[in-house]
C-alpha cells in the first residue's frame, strides 16, 4: 500500500509519521508543500507540527499551499486523507472536515497520554478494530474542538464523530476532557468518512519503549483495511 506524507514549512511530525507508516508496511513518500502533483497513493497524511509557525490561525496558511488543491481533489474523489494534530487543523481550514479548533481551555500546551473511545467503525480507518478504547498521546495548544449547534446536530446525525476523549473504561466526561472540546471530540470525519482529522498522535505510540503501543494497533488495522 502506498502512502504520502506532506511536509509543510514548520511540519515537525513528518519524519515520525514516515517512520510509523514504513514500520507497518506502507510504501511511504514525502511530498513537498510546493509540489503540484501527488504521487499515486492509497493514503495521504497531513502531519503534526507548526506549519507557518501557527502565527495566523493554525493551519490556515498551509491550507492554501499549492499541494492542497491536489489533496482536496483526492479527498473529493474518495481518496483516504488523514490529518493529525496540525494536520487536523489544516483539514478544518481547508473545509475538508467541519468545525474549528480553538485554543485549549486552560490556555496551555498539553503533552500527555489520553484515552480515546472509538464509536464509529463503519469506515476504513477503524473497521475491524477489536478495541473500543485506545491509549493515544496528545501534544497541542489548539485542540479545543468547536462547532455550531446546527453543525453538531448534522455531525451527529451523520455519525461523523470519530473518537472521543474518555477515561480508561471508555467513559466520556468533563473531567477527562483535556482541552475543552465540545462533546469531548478528539477526531472527526467528513460526511463520506474518507477524511479523518484527529488531535492525538498514533505515530508516537508504536513500540513498547515509547508512551504505549496502541498506535501500532491503529496502523496495522488501517493497513489491513486498505489492502
Amino acid at each position: 500500500m502506498k502512502s504520502s506524507v506532506i511536509t509543510f514549512p514548520g511540519s515537525n511530525c513528518d519524519r515520525d509519521m514516515d517512520v510509523a507508516l514504513t514500520k507497518f508496511g506502507f510504501k511511504n513518500k514525502m511530498v513537498w508543500h510546493n509540489d503540484q502533483e501527488l504521487p499515486k497513493s492509497d493514503l495521504i497524511v497531513l502531519p503534526g507540527g507548526f506549519s507557518y509557525g501557527d502565527y495566523l490561525r493554525c493551519g490556515s496558511m498551509a491550507s492554501k499551499s499549492k499541494i492542497m488543491n491536489s489533496v482536496i481533489n483526492f479527498a473529493k474523489s474518495g481518496g483516504l486523507v488523514m490529518g493529525i494534530c496540525n494536520g487536523f487543523q489544516i483539514l478544518v481550514e481547508a473545509g475538508l472536515v467541519p468545525g474549528v479548533l480553538l485554543r485549549n481551555k486552560y490556555l496551555q500546551f498539553i503533552c500527555k497520554n489520553v484515552h480515546v473511545k472509538v464509536d464509529n467503525k463503519e469506515n476504513t480507518f477503524f473497521k475491524n478494530l477489536d478495541k473500543k478504547v485506545l491509549e493515544f498521546h496528545i501534544a497541542h495548544n489548539e485542540g479545543n474542538y468547536f462547532c455550531t449547534n446546527d453543525q453538531l446536530k448534522e455531525i451527529e446525525d451523520n455519525n461523523q464523530i470519530a473518537i472521543y476523549y474518555c477515561d480508561q473504561n471508555g467513559d466520556t466526561n468533563d473531567q477527562i476532557n483535556p482541552n475543552g472540546s465540545i462533546k469531548n471530540i478528539a477526531g472527526i470525519f467528513n460526511k463520506e468518512k474518507n477524511v479523518l482529522g484527529m488531535m492525538p498522535h498514533p505515530e508516537r505510540m508504536i513500540d513498547e519503549s515509547l508512551s504505549g503501543e496502541d498506535g501500532s494497533i491503529f496502523f496495522k488495522n488501517l493497513l489491513n483495511n486498505i489492502k
Partner: protein
C-alpha cells in the same frame, strides 16, 4: 558622533579599558568601532573575569572530540556517531521579559548545536525563581515555561528533563539555563574556523532588526530599579524561522560547500564574524549595505550590534554560492553574500562606499582584557548541634508530608506537560525521572541527559557544592543505567567585582574540576553568567551541570517506579545522618547554617560503577538516587511512580530514625531487586566494598514503617502532585 571616555563608559567599558582600546588602535575609535569593542569586551563575550579560572577545568578525556571553545562540545558515542551539547544562560533577559527571554534562550542554544552539523534531539532546562511568596514569581514562572515550550515545541525537539527551584535569593534575578543535545556523524562535524582567502562570507536566516542591541552588555551588568527600561535589549524569537533555518542548514551541510559556520548569538554579526576570522587567523571584509535589514535606515552601529535571532554566518567554498542560495530560497530564507575573507587580519566594514570600521582582529580577541580578580576563600561552616529531643517530637508522616509538598520537591508535572517531550518518536524516559532518555534514532543505543544544581550547598561551602553538583548528575545518569561520559556547565553567580562572589565562583569551579577529573567526566562546553544581582543583592552561587551518558542497549534502561510486589529494596551507600543544609533542616527545623554534606569521590565512583555492573547483569528492577529530602523522600517517589507500597522493616541503624530517613548524605541510591537475585547482588556489593542497608520489601498500595507509621500511595500522591498545580491556578 565623536567618541570620548564618557561614551565609552556608557557602553559598559571601564576607563582603563577605553584607554587600552585607544592604545591598541593608536587612535580614537569611531562610534561603530567602540560599539564593537564594547560587545566583544563585555563579561558575557570575553569571559574577562572567568577565563583565568576556567582554564583549570578538567576538559580532556578519551571520548572528547571537541572540548570548550567551539559553539558546543562534542563527544564520541561509538559507531561513528557523536553527541554535540551545551548549556547556556538567558537569565537577564528572562527576568525583564520572561516569555521572549526564555524562548530565545532555547533558540540560541539549539542554534549553537545545529551550527556544528548536529540535528537537535533533546532539550533540557534548569530554571530558578524567587520565593513562592514573592509577587513576581508566579508570572515569571508562567512566562518562562510558556517561552521554553513555545520555542522548543515549535522546533519539534522534545524537552526531556529539567530542574526547577525556588529560593529567596532569586527574587530579583531568576535563572533560565537551557541545554540542547544534537546527533551528528563524527565525520560531518562543522566548525567555526574560517580558512582560505577571498572566500565568500554569507549571511542567512532572518533579517536584521533593531532588537537586542546591547543584549550582551545588558547581561554583563547588575540590575537596578530602572530595569524595565531595558526591555528593548531583549531579543524576540521566531521559532518557525529557526525550524526552517535548521532544515536549510542541515541540507546545505549534507554537501561540501561549507568551510566554516557560526551562529549569530550574543553580539550578533560582530562576534560571529570576528570569531570566524580569529580562529582562522584571517581578516574579514563586510559590506553592511548587503546585510538584509528588517527596518529602514539602520546604521552600521545598529547592524553590527543587533541581536536579532535566527541568523547564521557562513564562509563558503568559492563557486558554491548558487547551490547554497537555491537551498535557502527553497526554505524562504534570506541569503546574501555580504563579504569575503582577506589576508589583512583586520575586520573591515564598509557602508555607503565608505570604510566605517577597521580593527585588527587580535585586538578584539587575544588582547581583550583578562582579570585576576580578588577573591575570598570560604571556610567550612561548623556543624550545627541539633538538640536530639527535637527529633523525638517530629512525626515521620507529618514531616514527610511537608517535604513532599514543598516547592523544591513537589512534582513538576504542571511544567513539563507544557513541553512536547515525545516528538521525534524516540523519548523512552520522560521528564520526572532521574534523567531524560532518548534513543539514537534507528539504533539500539540511547542517550541519557540530566541537569542539576544545588545552590544551597554551594552557598554553604562552594568547594563541596561544586563537587556535589557534578556527583548528583553522575548519579542521575547511573540511576537510569547510563554510563556517564561528559558534562556541560552553566556558571551563574553574582558580581565578580565582589571578593565574596568571586570566591564562590573560583571555589565552585575548583570543586567541579576535582569531581570531573576523579570521575573521568570532563567538561566539554559551557558558559558563565555573572552579575546576577539586583541593588547589591546577589543570587546564591548556582553552577548548573548538564550530564550526558550512553546506554548501549536501550532495553536495559532503568526507571524509578517500583515494579513488583515482594521485591527487595536496598539502600546503596552509607547513611551517616548529615542534617545540616538538608531540606529537613531548612524547612522543618528552620536552621540555615552548617556545612553541606561531605562528598567522597571514591565512594561516588565506586558505588556508581558497581551499580552499572548490577544493571549490566539485569539485577536491578528500579533505581533512584537519594538527594533532597533523603531516603524517605526518594522511596515515596518510587512508590508514587510505580503505584506500589513498601513495608520498611526497622533498619539496623545506629542513628536516630529521623536522621536516617531525612539526612542528605551523598553517594546513595535506592535499588529494587528480585529476592532470587539477593545473594548474588550482595556478593557483588561486598566484593566491591559497597555499603548497603536492607530497606524492606515492596507491597501493595501502602507505605508502612515498623507498623506504626502508615501512608497510602494516594496520600503520598496528593502531597506530591497537587502543590504546584494549585499554586499556579
Amino acid at each position: 558622533m565623536l567618541v570620548n571616555e564618557k561614551i565609552a563608559i556608557e557602553h559598559g567599558l571601564k576607563s582603563d579599558e577605553y584607554k587600552k582600546i585607544c592604545k591598541l588602535l593608536k587612535r580614537t575609535p569611531n562610534i561603530t568601532e567602540l560599539g564593537i569593542f564594547s560587545a566583544m569586551w563585555n563579561e558575557h563575550c570575553s569571559y574577562k573575569s572567568s577565563r583565568i579560572h576556567l582554564k583549570k577545568l578538567h576538559t580532556k578525556g578519551k571520548k572528547v572530540i571537541q572540548g570548550p571553545g567551539e559553539n558546543a562540545g562534542v563527544i564520541d558515542i561509538e559507531d561513528g556517531d557523536a553527541i554535540v551539547f551545551k548549556i547556556e544562560s538567558h537569565n537577564h533577559p528572562s527576568f525583564i521579559e520572561p516569555y521572549q527571554g526564555a524562548a530565545t534562550g532555547v533558540g540560541g542554544i539549539m542554534r549553537d548545536v545545529f551550527t556544528m552539523g548536529a540535528r537537535p534531539i533533546a532539550n533540557l532546562n534548569s530554571i530558578h525563581f524567587g520565593s513562592t511568596q514573592n509577587k513576581k514569581t508566579k508570572n515569571l514562572l508562567r512566562g518562562v515555561v510558556h517561552g521554553i515550550g513555545g520555542y522548543g515545541n515549535c522546533m519539534g525537539v522534545p524537552t526531556i528533563a529539567g530542574q526547577t527551584s525556588f529560593d529567596r535569593s532569586y527574587n530579583g534575578n531568576i535563572l533560565v539555563n537551557a541545554m540542547t543535545l544534537g546527533l551528528v556523524k563524527k565525520d560531518k562535524i562543522f566548525y567555526s574556523k574560517a580558512a582560505g582567502l577571498n572566500k565568500p562570507v554569507i549571511y542567512v536566516g532572518s533579517k536584521t532588526g533593531r532588537d537586542g542591541i546591547h543584549g550582551a552588555s545588558m547581561a554583563s551588568a547588575s540590575f537596578d530599579e530602572k530595569i524595565e527600561e531595558k526591555k528593548p535589549t531583549v531579543q524576540v524569537g521566531d521559532p518557525f524561522t529557526e525550524k526552517l533555518l535548521l532544515e536549510a542548514c542541515l541540507e546545505l551541510m549534507s554537501g561540501d560547500s561549507i568551510i566554516a559556520i557560526q551562529d549569530m548569538g550574543a553580539a550578533g554579526l560582530t562576534s560571529s564574524s570576528i570569531e570566524m576570522a580569529s580562529k582562522g587567523n584571517l581578516g574579514i571584509e563586510i559590506n553592511l549595505n548587503k546585510v538584509p535589514c528588517r527596518e529602514t535606515k539602520m546604521t552600521p552601529y545598529e547592524i553590527m550590534l543587533s541581536e536579532s535571532q535566527e541568523r547564521m554566518l557562513i564562509v563558503l567554498e568559492s563557486g558554491k554560492e548558487e547551490i547554497a542560495k537555491k537551498i535557502f530560497d527553497k526554505w524562504n530564507l534570506d541569503f546574501a553574500v555580504i563579504g569575503k575573507t582577506t589576508n589583512t587580519k583586520n575586520i573591515e566594514l564598509f557602508f555607503d562606499n565608505k570604510q566605517v570600521a577597521n580593527i585588527p582582529v587580535n585586538t578584539l580577541v587575544e588582547n581583550s582584557p583578562m582579570y585576576d580578580r580578588k577573591w575570598k576563600k570560604s571556610k567550612l561552616p561548623k556543624k550545627n548541634k541539633i538538640n536530639k529531643t527535637i527529633f523525638k517530637s517530629l512525626k515521620i508522616k507529618d514531616t514527610l508530608k511537608k517535604i513532599l509538598s514543598s516547592p523544591n520537591v513537589c512534582s513538576k508535572e504542571w511544567i513539563w506537560q507544557q513541553y512536547d517531550h515525545t516528538v521525534m518518536g524516540d523519548t523512552i524516559q520522560k521528564p520526572g525521572g532521574d534523567s531524560g532518555v532518548v534513543r539514537v534514532h534507528k539504533t539500539d543505543k540511547a542517550i541519557a541527559a540530566t541537569v542539576d544544581s544545588s545552590a544551597t550547598y554551594c552557598w554553604a561551602h562552594p568547594l563541596t557544592g561544586g563537587k556535589q553538583v557534578v556527583c548528583e548528575t553522575w548519579r542521575n545518569l547511573i540511576s537510569v543505567g547510563a554510563k556517564p561520559i561528559a558534562v556541560t556547565n552553566c556558571l551563574n553567580f553574582g558580581s565578580p567585582e565582589k571578593e565574596g562572589n568571586m570566591g564562590e565562583f573560583v571555589e565552585c569551579v575548583q570543586g567541579i574540576s576535582e569531581a570531573c577529573k576523579y570521575l573521568d567526566y570532563p567538561v566539554v562546553s559551557g558558559n558563565v553568567s555573572f552579575y546576577n544581582e539586583t541593588k547589591d543583592i546577589g543570587i546564591k552561587p548556582t553552577p548548573t551541570i548538564g550530564g550526558v551518558g550512553l546506554i548501549k542497549d536501550y532495553k536495559k534502561m532503568i526507571t524509578m517506579d517500583f515494579k513488583e510486589i515482594d521485591n527487595i529494596v536496598l539502600v546503596i551507600g552509607k547513611t551517616e545522618g548529615h542534617i545540616d543544609q538538608s531540606l529537613l533542616s531548612r524547612i522543618i527545623l528552620n536552621e540555615n547554617n552548617g556545612p553541606p554534606p561531605e562528598v567522597n569521590l571514591f565512594n561516588e565512583k565506586n558505588n556508581g560503577l558497581t551499580l552499572l555492573t548490577l544493571i549490566e547483569k539485569n539485577f536491578i528492577k528500579s533505581a533512584h538516587d537519594i538527594s533532597l529530602g533523603g531516603i524517605i523522600t526518594a522511596i515515596s517517589k518510587m512508590c508514587i511512580k510505580g503505584n506500589k507500597g513498601i513495608q520498611i522493616k526497622k533498619p539496623k541503624f545506629l542513628i536516630n530514625e529521623i536522621e536516617y530517613f531525612f539526612s542528605e548524605d551523598q553517594g546513595r541510591y535506592l535499588i529494587e531487586i528480585n529476592p532470587k537475585d539477593f545473594k548474588e547482588v550482595i556478593k557483588i556489593l561486598d566484593k566491591n566494598s559497597v555499603h548497603y542497608d536492607e530497606m524492606g520489601k515492596i507491597i501493595d498500595k501502602e507505605m508502612i514503617i515498623d507498623q506504626k507509621t502508615k501512608l497510602t500511595i494516594d496520600e503520598l500522591k496528593s502531597y506530591n502532585i497537587n502543590w504546584l498545580k494549585s499554586y499556579m491556578v
